[in-house]
């Protein structure tokens, strides 16, 4: 994991002190509420429906057990004993008091964490593949690039008052788990024909009220050219992005209105003009950062584990959890294990202080003290010996964290919705809870197979409903909540925006409609077919018909 040097540490401390001063100047009236708002947002502090909300950055979703324990402490001391892991690999606290926030930021700085740029019209916390460094299909660990960009984008003098927020995601694998085509900038670490490392660059993707798939801006930008290239994109956007209408201010609108070719040309023209005279050799800085992400010293193990096989035969529940919640690791004898934060009837992504501590303890005992946060609001133990999976599962069971539903139907992604959020037009969490209850049966879930259900409580789409196999959008229609269902969305390389099915459903009708669709799929699917495959074979109209058809 990356560790702060004296510069990083001082930078974060100074930033906390600066924010203390800004809070004081707000209280004296020297700063108006309008002036204070972007300053507090750039320090992670929102004003929500009932209280302030603090969003803490978990850069590229990587956490140490020590940091997880500190997040638990903050949940217990300053909040109501829990936190909410978000689709952008961050954690949110829903009930901090304004007066406590500078102290919380100091507590975060104690474990090399912060809330810088988790909100506001600036470059947000950089996200990455949650299996970075351990995925079997990875070309190169994307986190050194993400860390380089995190530093470069922190308190950027030129790009802190952009037309709108700006999100960057990085993957290092051919299978995109970082949703790069739906980010303002998406990067994929690749090697060119000469064996040099660099990035494929996408821009102009996004969800929100106008979902768009990004366009490829460059096939290959060498690693030492990456920051100047991003600087060029940012400068074109900062100068040309629309500021007349908040809803048309994201870079996706600029790319769309300008046209991909003209936008690309503008970026390359600017790129040729970027001042590199005071840029130190960035390959050296990357190397410095990369040293922190070297693979840990794994034990040399055979890939198959007799202990694991025996335990799977002895305990079918454990066997199911292994089949559903573990993924291929690049190191023989190891596995990636997913901890689902989607228990039956729970609020997606929520974890209590006690649960966070339990996860930290398990990471210490079995995962080289490291954890990850996924865009699906789950937690990853990235380095578990297969022979220890049973011990991990037993401890997760004891902590109530062993739901065997990773990437299955009850692994629902949801924004906080009207229960917390001032923008929301409908509740999200109760819908998610009802779905997890309706489809609670583990055997049934496994037989349904992989399927993404994503719920947003308003058109801003924080629940990413546009990229769900089944997307649910909560709206308010003449005083009542109405839920619109989209089908066929896809956040991966085969990126697609879900298509609207038809008239919305009342809150109490959503789960029934989904159940009808699932039963139809189970009847119609061919052997081995996933929901997505059946959807594409039968087509949108046939599948959407099943949502409405009575049995």
């Amino acid at each position: 994991m990356y560790q702060y040097d004296a510069f990083d540490a001082r930078f974060v401390r100074e930033r906390v002190a600066q924010f203390r001063g800004q809070v004081e100047r707000r209280l004296t009236g020297a700063l108006t509420e309008d002036e204070f708002r972007p300053l507090r947002l750039m320090n992670g502090l929102y004003l929500q429906l009932h209280a302030y909300m603090l969003r803490v950055a978990i850069p590229y979703g990587t956490l140490s057990s020590l940091q997880m324990r500190q997040l638990a402490m903050i949940a217990d001391k300053y909040d109501r004993g829990y936190g909410h892991f978000t689709t952008r690999q961050n954690i949110q606290y829903n009930w901090p008091l304004l007066k406590d926030v500078p102290d919380i930021l100091d507590d975060l700085a104690d474990v090399e964490m912060h809330a810088i740029q988790t909100s506001g019209n600036c470059i947000r916390n950089v996200t990455a593949d949650p299996y970075s460094g351990v995925a079997a299909d990875e070309v190169s660990d994307p986190r050194p690039f993400a860390e380089l960009i995190r530093q470069w984008s922190s308190a950027h003098p030129e790009f802190s008052f952009l037309p709108r927020k700006f999100k960057i995601a990085v993957t290092g694998a051919p299978n995109d788990r970082a949703v790069i085509k739906f980010h303002d900038i998406g990067l994929r670490v690749v090697q060119n024909a000469e064996g040099q490392r660099g990035c494929e660059v996408w821009a102009g993707g996004g969800l929100g009220r106008t979902p768009m798939i990004g366009v490829k801006v460059a096939d290959f930008i060498g690693e030492t050219d990456l920051l100047p290239f991003i600087e060029a994109i940012m400068r074109v956007y900062n100068a040309e992005g629309r500021r007349d209408n908040k809803f048309k201010a994201r870079i996706k609108i600029l790319v769309h209105e300008t046209g991909a070719d003209e936008f690309r040309q503008a970026v390359y023209d600017e790129y040729a003009r970027v001042d590199r005279s005071s840029m130190p050799p960035i390959d050296e800085e990357l190397k410095r950062i990369e040293a922190f992400f070297r693979p840990p010293s794994y034990d040399a193990l055979p890939d198959a584990s007799p202990e694991l096989q025996a335990a799977m035969i002895a305990d079918p529940d454990f066997a199911r959890w292994v089949r559903v919640n573990t993924r291929a690791h690049k190191q023989p004898g190891y596995a990636i294990a997913l901890i689902s934060l989607k228990p039956k009837g729970g609020a997606p992504g929520d974890a209590t202080g006690a649960e966070m501590r339990a996860m930290a303890d398990i990471a210490d005992a079995h995962s080289l003290s490291e954890l990850r946060v996924t865009a699906e609001q789950n937690i990853v133990l990235p380095n578990v010996k297969k022979s220890e999976l049973f011990a991990v599962w037993s401890k997760l069971q004891a902590a109530g964290l062993a739901a065997p539903n990773a990437e299955l139907i009850s692994d629902v992604v949801s924004c906080p919705g009207l229960d917390y959020c001032s923008l929301a037009t409908a509740r999200s969490i109760p819908i998610a809870q009802e779905i997890t209850e309706r489809f609670a049966d583990a055997a049934m879930q496994e037989s349904i197979g992989p399927i993404r259900i994503k719920i947003s409580g308003c058109i801003n789409a924080c629940g990413h409903h546009h990229v769900g196999d089944i997307g649910i959008l909560g709206l308010e229609k003449t005083g009542a909540e109405a839920y619109q269902i989209t089908l066929g969305g896809d956040p991966t390389d085969t990126a697609a925006i879900g298509e609207r099915s038809g008239p919305g459903f009342p809150a109490e009708g959503v789960t029934d409609a989904i159940e009808r669709l699932i039963h139809f799929y189970l009847r119609e699917r061919q052997p081995g077919e996933t929901f997505k495959e059946t959807y594409h074979r039968l087509g949108h109209d046939v599948m959407k018909g099943a949502l409405y058809a009575p049995h």
Binding site: E14, E35, Q151, H156, F161, A239, E284
Partner: protein, 167 residues
Amino acid sequence: MPLIRDGGFTADDWRWLGEGEASAPGQNAVIPLKRLLDEGEAAGARGVEVPNNTQPESLAPLFGRLDLIVIPFPAFNDGRGFSLGKRLRRLGFQGELRAKGHIIPDQYAYARACGFDTIEISDALAARQPEAHWREAAASMSLGYQPGYPGPQNILIARYRARDADR
């Protein structure tokens, strides 16, 4: 209108010309870009105010006639001026670069890093955000991560120098 230079409030040695007011050669006077373009070489004023969406390349041929370029900030959260300032410096403008309008002390260091020398604010803003606030805000961050933006100590360069010293 108060002017901030080098962290303190100071007197403005530039004057805005009224619409019909003649501009004499070599005058420390500011006129709008449109007038400068209309009058061509005859415009004697050495200062110009340009809209914040001006194409910077279009100004480059005028640099020799200008000692001051003023970029308006219609709202403090409209960051276009930062990129325009940066681009004008990159194109070689060496005169005074001024940000005018709604800028807050918390943006002062950013403005300087993007090439601005002076900030011109309204009397009301100066009353609410006195000189001490500008001085303190300018000094609040001693470090920065972006090469190519003068101001606080650059962390990437400091690390590079430390490595260089070890070699």
